[in-house]
Symmetry: C2
Subunit: 497 residues, 2 copies
């Protein structure tokens, strides 16, 4: 087979995998949003069957042969990058023996199931042996991937979530933030305290009205209801594909700002997916780059744009209109409310200042666990010591400590850092966008994100997976990822005039 | 490979196809109920990709080899029947060349799309060339299947919808009904007219209350909301699998009996699927027998049980409670309303007396079209002549005539007869059930269908595809399908004391 024919056959093969992936995303969404409880068993089998089919296509010897044959093809930049991404995906998947893949999948599923009970019962001991098994298999996966990809074991795991990320780079970024945080946090808390108590909301906020406002704001962030849906689920998420993007949200009757910010966050994810290069739809090079860059797009829309004073100045009147005027809905009180900083136990509820500390703790602990430097029985204490050291709060229970997050129990080691990589990238990109187009910020005060969307599409979304995340950042901002824009953003927002 | 190993490998292979089929059913449901319009293109591609994967598994040479190898295995009755059904499915699918399958699928999809516009515009000419192509390819399919299966071309098509059905048997059943209908219909209309006008409903009936009542009645018919959902869609349907069955319905604000009867109809389909033999789940022998027997289960619950005087006597007070008392909700008026007979143009709106005439017309015309005895340009006139002859009404437009149904335009030739086979089987089975358990009818007056469900499960559902539909009927009622129970049912209901 000649090289260009091989390349074309690969495009067909990867398109098939992408279509399978789309079907999987609908089945996942349905399971979270629509499925009756009786469907759980059959659905798990359906998901697994489709995943196995995709995995078989990706790891098939024919795929390896085609990749080798296509190597000699005279391809343009995009196709070269596409072939590189195909080879990357194949290499990762083919390196792992099928029995290890199956054993890992089974261990994760059993551990995750046990974790749900353990968290409810605050009983780390009950899930510990299952987590030990997940860790053992993760170490084996990391070693095999390390060998195959020429990366350290931890970097080989990271690479599955954010290609090109490395422990060394993350250590440098996180050290910087760790040095920045203590004095900054003390100053923020001192000032916050000086300015008075946290605004309190009064009343139950009608879910129908919350939903209407969320839909209006999602549209501001570019969400298209002819090509997407917003529904409710226990945990907000975003999924789908161009033409049919789906966001979920949970409404809190006591505070409408939770759902509003969650929808804007998920709309940022959806915007990225929607504006990926249409010519490369269903090809690896046309996919989102990595979890870190993906999170940068949601955090850019939520944290940078939608929690900006400009955006909030237009949100306050909408809240007053929807729910009636109250003290917390003055412009000034709303800002204090959504900018409230509070060191606390739970990562998913954390503000943007303390959030990285939660991530740094997990980054340190998961590397120690992977290296077998931290015995699992010492994890709860190590967690609590870390929280005390980083944020000055000590979780009273493991449910509020090392049992709070699903990720490790579900086998996702190497994933946590992407949250903070995303937060840092969001600040750096937003800074560059506002410098390139001075109308972006004033437009936010009119709830107009068109300029921002255009800049993001051109400078981030349209690249798909053509370049590394760092190369995207360099092209868009003039430099690779660094923590300074994020720190400057926090300083301006929390200690500015 | 030894014979029993081959048989076991076939079970694994067909389970995989069944799981794919379940995923497809979720994607279909989602497309009809949830999907935004922008999802139509990607969804068509997802459905097609999964269908192709299933088709490849079914037609693969390995499947043929395994079937041949398993033939020598010493199998019990169920496994023998399972192997027979596997061979049947494989033979049908493998007989058709892949390029014909692809061309037919494309022609159907284009024709169906054009039909939607043509029906709206009342423009048969615009869809005629596309229907001609569907017919040409259907003839080719029928010839190839005829050769492969040793059936006549039309029987080979029928067999795809109701295994074992034959043109000759259907002709005999339909001739009988055609002889019965004219005098019977005249007598029904004369008596109906004598007893006064059709009861009229007044008011808009709140959709929320309709929905609550529909859910209550679905539960009466055995629907389990922990293992299923009821939603709205343009056309009611039933899909899913044990653990997760999904019914849809459309609410008519002017008449709550439409949604109620539609839900009970779909609940009958769901009941069949739910009570199929659990030991044979995801195997061909554990599947529903055919479209005719499936329709018998929906029509039994709807037409035989739920439109019975007993059931209606308990429905009337529920309607009065939900929507307030009115003339149409007296016991007597409600019966007249849901038993109203009216020769008219549209099949899906037809009463149970005139419905078979709609089917007989289509049965005659589709055979003439298939044989090329009826030029397509003559179809509209032939349709209208047939309606005039059968029911004494002449459609004023093709939209109310030969453009009304999706089926031919979607490539389903040989499907229409199953509606009336189902109606006749429903009457025969209900008669036998009531004879076997005299408590079934009185229990309907308490909205208790437990006895009926138990009889149906034992005598119909639990057989899966172990026997032919006729063998199921013979075992359950003592005779193969005949039209007499149906005619007796109509005579009692419409001309009885």
């Amino acid at each position: 087979m000649n090289a260009i024919t091989a390349y074309r056959a690969l495009e067909d093969r990867f398109e098939k995998m992408a279509v399978l992936g789309e079907a999987l995303s609908v089945l996942h969404w349905d399971a979270a949003v629509m499925m009756p409880s009786g469907g759980a068993g059959p659905r798990a089998e359906q998901l697994s069957a489709l995943r196995v089919m995709g995995h078989e296509l990706l790891t098939a010897p024919e795929t390896a042969d085609l990749i080798a044959a296509a190597d000699a093809a005279d391809l343009d930049d995009w196709r070269q990058a596409n072939l590189r991404e195909m080879a990357r995906g194949h290499a990762r998947a083919a390196a792992l023996p099928p029995d290890l893949v199956a054993a890992f999948s089974k261990a994760c599923s059993e551990c995750e199931h046990a974790w749900r009970g353990a968290r409810l019962e605050n009983d780390f001991a009950s899930v510990k042996p299952l987590l030990a098994e997940v860790l053992t298999l993760t170490r084996r996966r990391a070693e095999i991937l390390s060998e195959a990809l020429g990366l350290s074991p931890y970097d080989a795991l990271l690479d599955g979530f954010e290609p090109g990320a490395s422990e060394r780079r993350i250590e440098a970024l996180f050290s910087d933030y760790r040095a920045f945080l203590p004095d900054f946090l003390a100053a923020v808390l001192e000032r916050q305290d000086r300015e008075g108590p946290k605004p309190t909301l009064s009343g139950a906020f009608d879910v129908g009205r919350q939903e209407a406002l969320c839909r209006e704001l999602a549209a501001v962030a570019g969400f298209d209801f002819d090509a997407g849906r917003i529904d409710q689920s226990a945990h907000p998420f975003s999924t789908g594909f161009p033409g049919d993007q789906r966001i979920t949200v949970r409404y809190n009757a006591a505070d409408p700002t939770f759902a509003i910010m969650a929808v804007l966050h998920e709309a940022g994810h959806a915007l990225y997916e929607r504006n990926l290069p249409p010519d490369w739809r269903r090809q690896p090079v046309g996919s989102a780059r990595g979890m870190g860059l993906h999170e940068s797009q949601s955090l850019l829309i939520e944290m940078q744009a939608s929690r900006s004073p400009e955006f909030l100045s237009a949100l306050a009147p909408k809240l007053r209109e929807a729910f009636g005027a109250q003290d917390a809905f003055t412009d000034e009180a709303l800002q204090r409310l959504v900018h409230w900083v509070q060191p606390d136990f739970i990562r998913v509820d954390a503000d943007e200042v303390t959030y990285p500390a939660h991530v740094i703790l997990r980054f340190n602990l998961e590397r120690a666990l992977l290296r077998d430097d931290l015995p699992l029985e010492d994890l709860p204490a190590a967690w609590n010591d870390g929280m005390t050291e980083l944020l000055g709060v000590t979780p009273p229970t493991d449910a509020l400590g090392c049992l709070q997050d699903i990720h490790w129990y579900d086998g996702a080691i190497g994933y946590f850092p992407t949250y903070t990589l995303g937060a840092m990238a969001a600040a750096q990109l937003f800074q560059a966008a506002c410098a390139a187009d001075p109308e972006i910020k004033p437009a936010l005060a009119r709830h107009d994100m068109n300029g921002l969307q255009a800049w993001l599409t051109e400078n981030v979304h349209a690249h798909g997976s053509r370049m590394s995340s760092d190369a995207v950042l360099e092209a868009a901002t003039g430099r690779p990822l660094d923590p300074k824009a994020f720190e400057a953003h926090l300083t301006e927002r929390y200690l500015g005039a």
